[in-house]
């Protein structure tokens, strides 16, 4: 049964395709106007961020408020790449970040192998090693990038502009995701040793630190094109409904395959009972880090997509108050339910930005944010486990393998304990 693609996968992919085509058709026919189009795209982007958070919180049990910071990192790094390409016709951003992502990523993997052989590893010391490696390699990448960029410029410029931009865009989104993932690895390494609520607060701190850095991106960080608090303009608006759906489906498939593999079960076991998981040979620290990095990867991807929706980035979008939004969505949809998360993301965007805007009578525009928390409150009181609890649609549902054919097991038959009959 593992060999063939099962019915639920076909149904899911078909359904996703159908959903994409229907919405795309409605967009093309202008039935769904730019207003709804934007909201749907934002909903999709939020779904990706929230799936990442659901992995971290819902499946691995780590209370993280840092998702928004990684989202910001993905958004700004991807935007910087495409900005340099479209405005300066230069690939230096692309090349340098690509080199950083690759070199630092490789060094992390290599160092991880090396360091994991050390008994009783101290997280902070390990962090220092990784940090030094990351800083060194980043500096090297910048130098190296200057050499490599010009020939690649020529190469890309030879392509039709649309194709080149698309290539740069896809790479930018992926690099944004990977960069967020690597930063999350460095940050998570020491911080993941903290107990649950303390971890949440430290990650909230991360979001705030990222926001402050973005506020000063042009002065302290030296990226003048990001323009700090003036907001970054000139990013090509290439994130179409297609790309949102493409990445959403990709993330869904990855998440589903991950969760339904041995790795996924190990991740969940950490949430269920850390001590029992350790006793069963699960390297709890490794799986916490892995999940955190994966969740942040998704956040970074989503950030890259978001940057190219409106073509404008402002640090205020990454304010810590908004960092609760993915958490609200995840809890609202149901912890541990990917279906719920996706549904809640779209519902959140459609209700808050869509219906409430349209339905509230004029003069009551400000009531949007009075109604929203009330809705939230009522929903939480009525369904404290979220809208979907742990319900999953068929594709995401764990399939129970069929029972093995009974082989003859004479010894075991005799002593098999019957169910307590009293």
């Amino acid at each position: 049964m593992f060999k063939k693609i099962d019915r639920s996968s076909l149904l899911f992919l078909g359904g996703a395709l159908a959903f994409f085509i229907v919405v795309q058709a409605l967009i093309s026919l202008n039935v769904l106007t730019a207003f709804w189009n934007t909201i749907l795209r934002i909903g999709g982007v939020m779904a990706i961020v929230s799936i990442g958070l659901n992995l971290i919180y819902g499946f691995n049990g780590q209370f993280s408020l840092g998702q928004w910071g990684f989202y910001a990192i993905g958004a700004y790094s991807a935007a910087d790449i495409t900005y340099r390409w479209t405005n300066n016709a230069s690939t230096d951003g692309l090349i340098v970040l690509l080199l950083i992502v690759l070199l630092v990523g490789t060094s992390i993997l290599l160092l991880y192998r090396l360091l994991s052989r050390i008994r009783g590893l101290d997280a902070l010391s390990a962090f220092t090693v990784y940090l030094l490696a990351a800083i060194g390699l980043s500096v090297a990448s910048v130098q190296l990038g200057r050499v490599i960029a010009p020939p690649v410029n020529g190469l890309l410029q030879a392509l039709p502009p649309d194709v080149a931009t698309t290539i740069v865009f896809i790479l930018a989104v992926l690099i944004g995701g990977l960069l967020a993932a690597e930063v999350s690895f460095l940050f998570g390494l020491p911080v993941l040793t903290l107990g649950s609520d303390y971890f949440g607060i430290a990650t909230l701190g991360f979001t705030i630190i990222v926001k402050v850095l973005l506020d000063n991106s042009d002065t302290l960080l030296g990226f003048t094109e990001m323009k700090g608090a003036r907001g970054m303009i000139g990013i090509p608006k290439v994130t179409s409904w297609f790309w949102v759906m493409f990445f959403l489906v990709l993330v869904l498939v990855i998440t589903r395959n991950l969760i339904h593999s041995s790795t996924g079960r190990a991740i969940i076991s950490v949430r269920e009972d850390e001590i029992a998981a350790k006793a069963m040979g699960i390297d709890v620290g490794y799986f916490k880090t892995l999940t955190f990095v994966l969740g942040s990867l998704f956040a970074g991807l989503a950030g890259g997509l978001y940057a190219h929706v409106n073509g404008f980035l402002h640090p205020d979008t990454f304010n810590f108050i908004k960092s609760f939004d993915p958490m609200i969505i995840v809890v609202f949809g149901g912890l541990g339910s990917i279906t719920g998360t996706v549904f809640a993301s779209f519902a959140w965007a459609l209700v808050l930005e869509g219906f409430l805007r349209l339905l509230l009578p004029s003069g009551f525009e400000t009531w949007r944010f009075v109604v929203y928390p009330l809705l939230l409150l009522i929903m939480m009181l009525l369904k404290p486990n979220g809208l979907f609890g742990n319900f999953e649609m068929p594709y995401l549902r764990q399939i129970l393998p069929p029972l093995r054919k009974k082989t003859s097991q004479p010894q075991s038959e005799g002593i098999t304990v019957k169910e307590a009959n009293v």
């Binding site: 039935v31 730019a34 207003f35 709804w36 405005n87 608090a229 404008f312 219906f355 805007r357 809208l387």
Partner: protein, 378 residues
Amino acid sequence: MKTRVAIFVLLIVALLVTACQPGAAGGGTIKIAILAPLSGPVPTFGVSTRDGALLAIEEANAKGGVLGKKIEAIVADSQCTPDPAVNAMNKVIEQDKVHYVVGEVCSKASIPISEIAEKNKVVMISPTSTNPTVTLNADGSTKKYVFRACFIDPFQGTVMAKFALSKGYKTAFILFDQGNDYVRGLAEFFEKAFTENGGQIVGKETYTAQDTDFSAILTKVAESKAEVLFVPDYYNIVNLVGAQAKEKGVTAVMMGGDGWDSADLDKNAANGGFFSNHYSPEDTRPIVQQWVANYQKKYNSVPDALATLGYDATNLLIAAIEKAGVDDPTKVAEAMEKLEYEAVSGKVTFDAQHNPIKSAVVLAVKDGKVSFAASVAP
């Protein structure tokens, strides 16, 4: 399970129904959308702007509307934040089918929506967004459909620098909000003009919009013995800075920009300070007196800079429509470029980058009153 399916279906149906709802036919009226941050961090700015704009529309309607049609105001909340602003802009363009937009207040919201305006050929006039890129494309060309009703930063910063020097002050300390481009712009151009003309900046400090405790930096100001403290922020920050400056022994004269202009400016805290503005309420021009009186009658408070600019922006728009003679955004935009209009904030024409050319005044805060101090031509 069933309920979930039901909810899902309901949402889809609702989406389709609302989406397919045709925007109300625009036959009998001309619609003007007002995008203002009614919620979010600074609703107070949004409320003022909206009130000013609504008053302009009301007055125009009282005079029979424009092109013989009534004007219909559509208010949308844009939260001074990019995403909601984009949604609000899309909503008024797509659902309400407006051709003219007054807004947004904050540059960070105005920039993304100006691109939508340009793409959809909708005339947009921002009452207060000072960032140059609001009216400019990425390549430096001017956006055809986007205008603004306020000074851009260089002008006010320069005005105040010159004014400070003319008063004989030689040293200044600048406080500005790193996260607010309006404040930052004013601060930068003040510094430039002040030092170029012989003054000296003895210190610069930043804060964030959420800060309330300025004790650390005000202690530094007191220590620096600067003669002028330039705080080009909105009145709420000025109130806090002014109140604490006195406790910290700061003797410098406070100066700032049009952000100070508000009925809520703490005249006690800002006592002895000066700020640049678009007009003086003491101005005897009838349009100014009429405006102040009408506003006071309707909203029971003195109009602030935001209300005034909201009023002016709307009037400029109406005048341009009138001048164009047709309800056609392209024509209106062309008419606007050549417009010459007597607004509350002075006689306005637009330069090549769609920024208004108008004169500024400097107002003094003294003994609980705001009074005219000087007039500066562009």
